[in-house]
Symmetry: C2
Subunit: 326 residues, 2 copies
């Protein structure tokens, strides 16, 4: 099933089920007040939402036209957003750009940072650009939402805790990042509010494209109306989602509603498939030409992320954002 | 007023007002379902909670005996926990022990990391020790809870966003931390769930000890039943809470219910006043003797943090935790 949250209602939004073809959506408040409550009581609530979803598909529910402008991120806020860096080709390029070595154990020890999760941007919300000198960049990612994960959970056990899948635009401030990371406490100012796809889906919606650990489909990235990337999310990732979850749960429980991100989806053959952030392209230019011709985002720039199923239908709806001054 | 959350109820607990002398507490569910809801609607809810608090003091409310074993952290979970390192004497000791200079901008650019906030330990909950080789340590801190803080908020404006004050035990895994920080993404596995004091208070409860930016009182720290620290929270801090809030809000809004921590309370005259973590004591031993005699926490060890008002009454109640294997 496909789930989303209307912006209206409280800080956690109002839950809706969305039709597979993204034409209609129906209120799910008869089942649960918010999607946050749903994931916190998933065992009980999911079957009821499935029933509602089937009724929507069968045309047996009052419904609204699908309209992403009315939608928040599926979880408009979360108690935990932990973002990885599972595609090492991305890490290799951005570290080269920052003049930082790859960690010695990068092939065996996942990178994961604690992200801000108190208020996400909506999927088609403007991205505020306060200062163009901050180096505003997008990052196209896959993310999963878990139920309660106990401390010490194994990679194998972690698979069953993945309940929902979605896309993420992990917005980054590249020129704020370099001095911030040198201080040694990780990202804070350099990672303002992220945005997620309008829709999150249960793994079955992906069919064979979901392996239990990764999404075997390309992420379609359009920057300022032009193809920017068709990077395959199932290729060149060193750590699958269960690896990231087990890593996150090594020393503590993860509460239901935890969102785990893949990091920027990146392939080794970036000259063929493109990229999912500007920093990668700038580094490729720097390596090739000695300097980066591509500038960071400015007011008016647009970024769109989408993923199509084998039937050509958008799985998660599109993240589609415009940068605005302010 | 003094506020707390009973563990019973949902993941956000059940709100109570607590008497100034910490003898009684009364349900606040007639006003608001949870303390999280209270801080998210503070302007409307605070006066009603004040009225309830006055009724409790006047003996006009049904009440329970104060019992910290029934209490969760005041916010049992939060959408944001951002922890600083405002006492540079702590950082200076760390770097001195490692033979490393202080960063050039340490006096002007606050250190702040994004902490895990999906589930905090209760104030007298056991601290799980899965592996004694992880180097389990306590950190005694002051923390504040804000209402909604807009991006770009100034230090001066930040003062008015501090609505509640409390203590924190920011539990750290020292031997997990060093390899984790080298990776460059900040803390994740090395910072398991923190615990907070049983009670959070409005600033007026501190009287003259609250300056608008700092708490001018010593933090009383008892480790395994013995005095370990009487470190003054108003001395030797380079960044006050409004500085930390303004730093956190530079590139994004902070949602109501954000908890901002001071970092380990530390004074320059640590040989007189003691410390608020084991790592500092180990550093002092290392500088003096060439090696650290003090071991990290093991099952059975106990740690207690408390702060007394000028009248000798515990302001926040005591964080009082025992390490258990598990």
């Amino acid at each position: 099933m496909k789930l989303a949250s209307l912006k209206s209602g409280g800080r956690d939004g109002t839950p809706v089920v969305v039709s597979r073809d993204l034409s209609r959506m129906a209120l799910a408040t008869s089942v649960v007040p918010t999607l946050r409550d749903a994931i916190e009581n998933w065992g009980q609530v999911a079957p009821e939402l499935q029933t509602l979803s089937a009724q929507l598909e069968a045309g047996k529910l009052d419904s609204l036209p699908y309209d992403p402008t009315t939608l928040a991120s599926p979880l408009p806020r979360a108690f935990q957003w932990a973002d990885g860096s599972a595609y090492l080709s991305h890490m290799r390029l951005v570290r080269k750009a920052r003049g930082v070595e790859m960690p010695a154990n990068s092939q065996t020890d996942p990178m994961l940072y604690q992200g801000g999760s108190d208020a996400f941007l909506g999927p088609v919300d403007p991205i505020p650009c306060v200062d163009t000198d901050w180096g505003l960049d997008f990052e196209g990612e896959i993310a999963v939402i878990t139920d309660d994960v106990p401390m010490g959970c194994s990679t194998e056990q972690a698979k069953s805790h993945i309940k929902l899948i979605l896309l993420c635009n992990d917005i980054s401030l590249r020129h704020v990042m370099r001095p911030e990371l040198i201080k040694g406490f990780g990202f804070f100012q350099s990672k303002p509010a992220s945005a997620f796809s309008p829709i999150c889906v249960t793994p079955d919606e992906l069919g064979k494209a979901w392996t239990g650990g990764r999404v075997n489909l390309p992420l379609l990235t359009t920057y300022n109306g032009e193809d920017y990337g068709r990077v395959h999310a199932g290729k060149d990732l060193t750590f699958e989602f269960p690896d990231l979850i087990a890593h996150a749960a090594r020393t503590r429980d993860l509460a239901a509603g935890t969102i785990i991100g893949s990091g920027t989806v990146s392939n080794e053959d970036h000259d063929v498939v493109g990229s999912n952030c500007l920093a990668e392209k700038r580094m490729i230019e720097t390596i090739r030409d000695g300097n980066a011709a591509t500038r960071f985002m400015q007011p008016g720039d647009t970024i769109r992320f989408e993923m199509l199923g084998e039937d050509g239908v958008s799985i998660f709806g599109a993240i589609d954002q415009t940068v605005v001054a302010g």
